[in-house]
Symmetry: C2
Subunit: 634 residues, 2 copies
């Protein structure tokens, strides 16, 4: 049995005892979102998506694979060899949901799944439904390709989430036995090894945080150190991030989700042991991501071949791979970096990836998914209910179920840090004791006005740090109706500190300009184009908003075109659109030619059309048609 | 034994009896090139490349695989399962070389290779060194993936070439027995089937042309009809061109070399049977290639994943796959279409692909190869001596060895059609009897002036049709010093007919302007950019020709920049460069940022730099450095 006193109820990552953490994320359970943007998504996730995914895991044999392993069913293994992980990610999502919204029916459903998992575990703690019976002898023989340790990592994360959400140790006990099995094989008494698909590193650190058993932290460190050996244990290639030791890695390469999950695991280790070497490597990798390899949507992974990062500045739009899971991984990594360093730049990237690169992966009705999230399309890329390789759907589900976690952190001085904004309420346990209650009113992300009322539980003053996003300028702050004396410090990309106590009313205004953004000139496909951004949202144009005789790829923005905002409540669940006048250049006059003598279009030939841009996350929710984010300028 | 009377000595494709052919290509042996562009390349190919490739086929076990199959060596199969084809393509190249340049040593070397092939053939005619011994039972069990029929096709092409070059039937006899084996399995008494990698279709038609055995033509037709069955026999997917029947295919999809080889085979069948259905399908596919999917270099195949065609207008430059073999396949297909239809547009595409998309695949010293031919590069893409998957090197070798074949055709009316220009001489057998000798003087491709003197063998007049390339205008023609009365018909993209007899002197001038070419606006990466073309050549800019502090990706061409030509004899084997003044935009001031508020560069900030562009085919022959074809405009 486990001492449940060492864990933080409702935590997603629990940094309560992490020596090098600057912040401690507020528990999931401390935050209630009541806003019009996130609350319905989280509710649909809970009410519709989780039951659907459970049914899908049954229908596709994913749960039957556990019944097969336990001998309850005499059937062949069904699906892909890493399908166990989808069940675990779903279970993790269910656990977060139980933390915020206790539900006996869901609790019982999850218990039933856990029972199937428990029954499938082997006497020595081993657990993977693929490597059973005739494949028993192959266990851990090909950790490069076969995702066994990856699946174990997802089980561990689900188990810790379940423990923190419900206090039950049923899944945690399984995870501990599996982790001990991993430790026996890959710990100090075993061999050097790791998984070709990173994931277990962060899971093992989280298990350490939950159990305080240092072997799990050491095992995570060993798995990180296993990469880049000569000769390589995991292919020795960039695809598996095995081309050089992690501490010497300077660029994001190979499979995007894998490298970003690895970065999460390394950040978790640094949060615990403060390694300057690994911290420096993470900062170098982060610079490479944000300066060379990240889409304006926060998406990552340019190449379809190998689901991989491309070269510096290789960011094709139509063929962007930008797996939903990679954007989620970026959110997870930036969250760890933010809590490690306290630097607002990580919150900026987290917010961009969350609102754009992640949310584009989910349909507005919450039931259809993108695996890839291109930034331009012919109109054929449509969301699907599920995938054979179903990593993304349950990954979105666990992110949404844990979303309240990403809004607040606390620090050792008794301060509170507010990273994201949404209407709702939070009662945040302070590290110096007591709590601070915040009631938030805002129309974010449609409007940057945020009113925060401090609740009655704070008789003494506390430092409240409010994030001033990089995308705003001329932010203003009133405290109890009075301009804040520190207002000259409202620097974009920073946090402003306000001293608050019970009853304090804060009025923060983060003006959301319509920004035209251009790319570094070496991003070939973005030359002569701008992206439109407002607040945290990136915009795009869709064919349905333009006349049928104007191909949306032919729409160009004059430099002086004035754009205005309009909130359209009945459109796409209620969105702010950008409106104005654009030019319809004419690809039709090419008459099928692919190349022609250069003849610049004269402004005299401009044909003006009404222009409407919608938030990128909301595309492909109406009829199919071409789309683009990067709009040509004329 | 075979009746050698039915074949045309020195033919590459022999259309002497092809009912639907408008033209008959002149035999390889009728044409001697003495120019400074092609002659050295063909000579290096003969003197250096072919011996090197033979040695490489020995060193890599490719020939040992035949010795293993015949029981001479008890060794494991070495290399990739389709490695036999590299030996066959090399043998085909050797045969063409023997046709133009008889060489007892090469002849003996080829005879020795043929003996190894003969000894490896099975009693039933089967021949594939991979499917021997323990793999015997797998023969023809997976024609989708295992390239057996593809390898057979290459053997057949080599055999026909060898027969026509030398009159020997040693290799042809092997090919006939193998074709009969294929016919037994996939002919009318066998099952419907074809190869996942097309190639055998055109080979079988060529064998039919050589032997007049109609079973081989019928087998080629059956293999074409095998595609697009429901359910698919070859995966049913676009990758294998099995998604729909060939006659219903409207777009080039899937593996680029495969679809282009398929188009060659279909064109060969149409040349024989005149099928209007297949001819229409070919024309639709050709329009798709040239209007939607062809690089300005004539290269084809946009995607690394699957070595495949992309969507319409999907033509990334840096990540262009543009396999050298795909450009060669385009030359082969356009050659068939030209001789089928007599339409100059096919010659235009053939010439573009040959001078640019194919020749970039070979280093100037003739010994290093590109597999991919990108149109922009960081400076890391360099040619290699050989590849594990070595399809391209022997493919270039057989194209170069057969190159004189592509210059002339004849027609049934006794006319001669001149498609390409290079200094040299040709004695062309006329279809109405007799011959026409042409002596060509020109500095093509550096200069469009072509002087043709008709030799003494033509006492009567003959129609000589001269190609006026699409890229020229204001072409002029003097016949015996007098402006041709039909000069108003010198329409770009057509043939002009001149009546010639012994002693006629023709002075054709095809002015080579420096052209700026732009792309259809939906080619995302080419927006706001131009390519430079002069005559048949596409140009590029390389870092080595610019100051070190000006990144070649930052060089932009002002709309009014004047460009001039200069022949530099000591540069890259002697090339015409394009010179002028360009603008160095500054990516350095981005200071690592990937995105920034849109701020157009003002012309006042322009920094001018000397500008030099070199022919694209000649890039990557000096020190490594960035390159680009599509140059931004300012």
């Amino acid at each position: 049995m486990t001492d449940t006193q060492t864990t933080t109820r409702g935590a997603v990552i629990d940094l309560a005892r992490s020596q090098s953490a600057k912040f401690r994320p507020a528990p999931l359970t401390a935050v209630a979102l009541t806003d019009a943007f996130w609350e319905p998504r989280i509710r649909i996730n809970r009410e519709t998506t989780l039951p659907f995914q459970l049914a899908e895991c049954e229908a596709t044999g994913r749960i039957n694979n556990f019944r097969r392993a336990s001998g309850k069913k005499d059937i062949p293994f069904e699906g892909i060899y890493f399908n166990d992980s989808d069940v675990y990610k779903m279970a993790e999502a269910m656990a977060y949901s139980l933390a915020t919204n206790p539900d006996p029916k869901l609790d019982a459903a999850l218990d039933a799944v856990i029972q199937e998992i428990a029954d499938a575990q082997q006497p020595d703690g081993y657990l993977n439904t693929y490597f059973m019976f005739e494949r028993e002898s192959e266990r851990y023989t090909n950790t490069k390709d076969m995702h066994e340790i990856y699946c174990a990592g997802h089980l561990i994360q689900a188990a810790v989430a379940h423990h923190r959400a419900t206090g039950k140790t049923t899944l945690l006990d399984i995870a501990i036995r599996l982790a001990d099995n991993l430790d026996a094989h890959f710990g100090p008494n075993g061999r050097i090894g790791a998984c070709g698909h990173e994931e277990a590193e962060m899971a093992l650190v989280e298990l350490y945080r939950d159990t305080q058993e240092p072997r799990y932290l050491m095992l995570a460190q060993r798995m990180i150190e296993a990469r880049g050996q000569k000769p390589g244990l995991l292919g020795g290639d960039e695809y598996h991030q095995d081309h050089r030791p992690v501490r010497e890695q300077t660029a994001l390469v190979g499979h995007a989700v894998r490298h970003l999950y690895l970065a999460c695991g390394v950040a978790d280790v640094v949060l615990e042991n403060g390694s300057e070497t690994y911290r420096a490597a993470l900062e170098t990798l982060w610079d490479n991501l944000t300066q060379k390899k990240m889409y304006v949507t926060g998406g990552a992974g340019a190449r379809w071949e190998g689901e991989a990062f491309g070269d510096d500045y290789e960011l094709p739009n139509e063929r962007a791979y930008t797996e939903t899971c990679a954007a989620i991984a970026s959110v997870m990594w930036n969250w760890r970096m933010l809590n490690l360093t306290g630097e607002a730049k990580y919150a900026d990237v987290l917010e961009t990836a969350l609102y754009n690169g992640v949310m584009s992966g989910l349909s507005l009705d919450g039931t259809h998914y993108f695996y890839q999230n291109p930034l331009a399309d012919h109109g054929r890329h449509r969301r699907e209910k599920w995938f054979g390789c179903a990593c993304c759907p349950p990954n979105i589900a666990r992110l949404l179920a844990s979303l309240p976690n990403y809004f607040y952190s606390t620090d050792k001085a008794g301060g509170v840090w507010c990273h994201l904004y949404a209407a709702g309420a939070a009662t945040l346990p302070l590290e110096t004791g007591g709590s601070l209650t915040l009631n938030i009113e805002t129309n974010y992300p449609w409007d940057g006005k945020v009113t925060i009322r401090v609740g009655e539980d704070s008789k003494t003053s506390h430092a409240l740090h409010l994030r001033i996003p990089q995308w705003t300028d001329n932010a203003t702050l009133l405290v109890d109706g009075v301009p804040d004396s520190l207002a000259n410090e409202l620097k974009p990309g920073s946090y402003v500190e306000v001293s608050v106590r019970s009853g304090t009313v804060i009025e923060l205004d983060l003006p959301m300009r319509i920004e035209r953004v251009e790319s570094h000139p070496h991003v070939a496909g973005n030359r002569g184009r701008v992206a439109l951004r407002r607040g945290p949202l990136v915009y795009c144009i869709e064919q349905i908003d333009f006349p049928a005789n104007v191909h949306v790829w032919d729409v160009a923005l004059p430099e002086d075109a004035e754009l205005v905002t309009e909130f359209v409540p009945e459109l796409l669940g209620g969105v702010v659109v950008l409106k104005g006048r654009a030019v319809a250049t004419n690809s039709g006059h090419w008459n099928g030619a692919l190349y022609a003598p250069y003849a610049p279009v004269s402004p005299k030939e401009f044909r003006f059309v009404p222009f409407t841009a919608i938030p990128y996350y909301a595309w492909a929710n109406r009829e199919a048609g071409p789309m683009q984010v990067w709009i040509p300028t004329v």
